[in-house]
């Protein structure tokens, strides 16, 4: 069973993602800040990460870079609300494999996660 790290500062968003993923047979670990995401990535070694971009303390891009520094092959998809495409491009440049737009459609998230763990 593939393990997914869901990172979002909004508990509501985490809950939605976690429920969707567990219902579809994934094991889910959660983190609510960038720093926590990095720590959990280290301890849990998930197969893939769904990473929110806008978070307090450490933003998603910084967390992404730290995660990729821990494991250069880390599979990360960024989660973002509609906004500046440049942030997403920056994330893709920093090594994100994919991204999901909030509010996310269930099939889109599942599709992205499936690709990440493939």
């Amino acid at each position: 069973m593939a393990k997914i790290l869901v990172v979002d500062d909004a508990a509501f968003m985490r809950m939605k993602a976690t429920r969707l993923l567990t219902e579809n047979g994934y094991e889910v670990v959660e983190a609510s800040t960038g720093a926590e995401a990095v720590a959990r990535f280290k301890s849990e070694r998930p197969d893939a990460v769904l990473l929110d971009i806008t978070m307090p303390d450490m933003d998603g891009i910084t967390a992404l870079k730290e995660i990729r520094a821990i494991d250069p092959n880390a599979r990360v998809a960024m989660v973002t609300a509609m906004g500046q495409q440049s942030v997403v491009v920056a994330a893709l440049k920093a090594g994100a494999s994919d991204f999901v737009v909030k509010p996310f459609a269930a099939d889109r998230v599942l599709n992205a996660v499936e690709k990440l763990v493939a």
Binding site: G83, L92, K102
Partner: protein, 707 residues
Amino acid sequence: MELAADITSEDLKVFLEEAEEQLQLLDDDILRLERDGASDELLQEIFRAAHTLKGSAATIGHRNMAAVGHASETLLDRLRNGDLAVNTEIVTALLHSLDILRAFKEELAGEADEEPDIEAVVAELEAATGAPDDADTDEPADPAPLSIDHGVVAAILEAEAAGDAVYRPIVTLLESCEWRTVRAFQVVSELSTIGTLLACSPTSAEIEADIVGRTIDAIVITKVGQEALEETLRAIEDVGSVEFVEVSSGPSPAEDAETDEASGAPDQSSAEETSHRAQRGSQTVRIDVERLDNLANMIGELVIDRTRIGQIGRVLASRYKDDELIESLSETTGHLSKVVSELQEDIMQARMLPVGTVFRRFTRMVRDLALSLGKQVEFITDGEDTEIDRTVIERIYDPLVHLLRNAIDHGIESAEERRANGKPETATLRLSAYHEHGYIAISVKDDGGGIDTEKLKQSVVANGLETQESVSRMSRSEAVNLIFTPGLSTADETTEVSGRGVGMDIVRSNIEAINGSITVDTAIGVGTELILRLPLTLATVNSLLVKVGKHDYALPLVYVTETIKISQHTLTTVSGRTELLTIRDQVIPLIRLHDIWPGGSGAGRAEDAVFAVIVNSGDKRVALGVDSLTEPQEVVVKSLGGFMGEVKGISGASIMADGRVVLIADVASLVNTAGRRPQRDAQLQSEAPGGSSDLTSAVAGNLEDAA
């Protein structure tokens, strides 16, 4: 309020709890913002809270709440980026938006019945934001069509020669794709991952700038095969179709600029059109000047290596006589040498532009200027086809504007005056370009009144630039050259046309900065001719190589008039310091380059200088004392990096075949700081610098003396 179908009551509960937290935080923070003013951390925190609230609202499907959240987020983003400063209007708008968000929340929680109206608050937020937030909905500018330049064609040929497959996929994104920039970035990234991306429209720079259409047109070399390539591209979200256009290296598949501009967006250019365009081909390609410069630089390096290999080969040949391998090395080197030379010539040729491109710009200027001054001028241009390096062309535009203005304003007389002097009322102003001894000469010649040297002398004296005594001793040509005196205005009164504070001295220094020279020929009542002599290119410079102490220097030949052996000429010392050489009745100051460039330990003493190189800049002439001379050669100019700063009397550097670094002397500045006018210079005009063959033989003669 209609919510998304999959929202359960538990979802809503979590959402409401969290919304309350965010609203509370926003309440406190916005008030803090008003009280304490903005800080980066505070604005970031407010932005994040609004952003999170908006994201969650959108997820539960609450469109109105998300819309208000979005409008506040946009305003906050501008605050955060420093585009806006916090003011009462902004704080009020944000507080109003909070009220509405809270009302929505209460309505959702069942605490209120009325769903609030969002129009007023969104309008208020937008007014506070300033420019409407249409970045997401605006059709962005269209990217330029795929540009296939020399480099790409060469790479395609290379790949084909190596048996690699080259593909040109045209990816069309779905109409519904909202994030074209990101998708285009993903397409380009994938292509770069599975192969070598040769060209792409939109380019990476365009993607960075959000200039992305619905299609992505690319040329890629890859080993994975068309099927796998297509599969990879289709796997990217929002990719609608992937089509392949045949890539042919036959005639360059270059696009025609004008047609492309007319056809516009790649959205409109279907695969068929693109394919048609690719097959039609064209005889020319557009190429970035920077790329040409890079190529020229690399070829410069190649030239150095070639010469070096040649030298090594010769050493080996003398060391191991009759060795077959070494013979074959020399043959190969010979061939390499030939190819590199041709390559160098070709790239120089590619950098050339006919001077007509700049001449054409003057026709209108001359006409307007003559009209405004009420003068009748026939403007004739000659030799427009003469080709010259594009960097030189850029650098001569301003000087030529100045010379032409001067000619019309000061040189050419009014129609009445001309008639009174028995000249045709319509003056002739001729701008011509021609080849002369390996240089390009550009002449600006008018049949005007000529330079009145008496008036010029008075003006120079009146401006305190020379003394009455010194000008009274000047020959006519010395006096003519006074037009290059810094700070001089030749007009009786400063006129609107020429009185722009840019004197002939600036013109001259601009021309000398590119290793060119300028000379004047004038006769009262007959006219004035100014001749610019310019190098064909700035990439290399024909130089005389000299040794000073331990180091080698290159003196650009354009400045060199002759070389002499010091001992064969009279040397006098004045004021105990300045040395003067008398050469054919002319007295020329001698600058021993050892004094300017101390050569470090073991360097020859200044007194040891054996040879003098006579150099000219403008009307000044000096003799530069050096230890030894080598034959003139073409050196490849490498500019001194910024870190070296301004080195006195040095304009650049070059690397010789044997790896030695040679510094290129800035002769004009050496002459201008230390030079003086020759005491007698009847031959100045005829001895204008030009790198004549006489000079080369003179140098060769001295080399023989030295040997």
